[in-house]
Amino acid sequence: MALDTVADYIRNARVLLQDTIPDYRYSDSELVENMNLGLLEIRRLRPELVRAYFRSTIPTYTTTNMSTTNVAMDPMYRVSLLYYICGQAQLRDDENTQDARAAVFLNKFVAQMLTIQS
């Protein structure tokens, strides 16, 4: 299935960020950190998606063993998490065009979490 592992998310994020050729503009650790932030946002917006972690802390992923570490996320919302990773990454850039792209990604993330039409 698509978007199973941490590496899947990072690879797909690089495609959307147009950052597929080394040396990368966004490092693996930055993108993984964005994914961790995304999980915190998901906890706020759609708690049932991380119900397994109600009695423990939300997992924090690292760049270690990325291709074998699965990300526990319902298949319906994996693309949303991917959009969050991209949006958060583009917030770093200070160009106007990048700001707009960041807003698009982050708004799409929120819209997909809360509505059907997105």
């Binding site: 049932e48 998606l49 119900r51 319902d74 809360l114 509505t115 059907i116």
Partner: protein, 200 residues
């Protein structure tokens, strides 16, 4: 039960785009708890030994279930015995038994944790077979009443909950009649009765 459960879950998945199975199971449990608590449809008869020097006895359901209420107690002759249950499972007889005997009580039950490995509550199969379509209404109503979800819909939540409440009322009456069509819903005035019959 698996086939009926699969059908129920498929119906819910189709009608609630964006809903996760985890959320559905959570509300499914709550729906069944509400259903059983209001209808007394799931009952269990339990025999227990009584002695003439004790008024308090403890009983537990045989399966994974919570006790909702005590439906009644009879002695070995089928005569109703006055009893209370202030705490579920703790039966207090109003009077000491005249002699050692085997009493039978009936408990109304509801679902309880732990659920099955798949996360579904356990209860008798026939209830899902009979009320499956109506249980869907209950889960839909609860899901749609959640705030800020893709499937939130106040108007439809009210619609489905109203249908579910109707089902609860019907199921409650059918349970009282023991699923007998035109079953007697009244009892002869007790002053005419020579001996009190079973309470349930």
């Amino acid at each position: 039960m698996t086939a009926d459960l699969n059908r129920l879950m498929d119906n819910l998945r189709v009608r609630l785009p964006g809903a996760t199975d985890e959320a559905l199971k959570l509300e499914y449990f709550s729906t069944m708890d509400q259903f059983f608590g209001a209808t007394n449809i799931w009952t269990e008869d339990i025999d227990f030994e009584v002695t003439n020097d004790n008024k308090t006895y403890y009983v537990t359901p045989s399966g994974v279930a919570n006790i909702v209420r005590l439906m009644g107690v009879v002695n070995s002759d089928g005569v109703t015995i006055a009893a209370l249950m202030k705490v579920p499972g703790e039966i207090t007889l109003v009077d000491y038994p005249n002699q050692s005997d085997t009493y039978t009580l009936q408990l109304a039950l509801t679902v309880k944790d732990p659920v099955t490995r798949d996360g579904y509550p356990e209860y008798p199969d026939w209830i899902l077979e009979k009320y499956g379509v109506d249980i869907i209404d209950g889960v839909l109503g609860r899901m749609m009443s959640q705030i800020a979800k893709p499937y939130s819909n106040e108007r439809m939540a009210i619609y489905h909950m109203r249908r579910f409440q109707n089902t609860i009322a019907i199921a409650k009456v059918e349970a009282q009649h023991r699923n007998v069509y035109r079953g007697q819903s009244w009892r002869f005035p007790q002053t005419f009765a020579r001996r009190r019959a079973r309470a349930w």
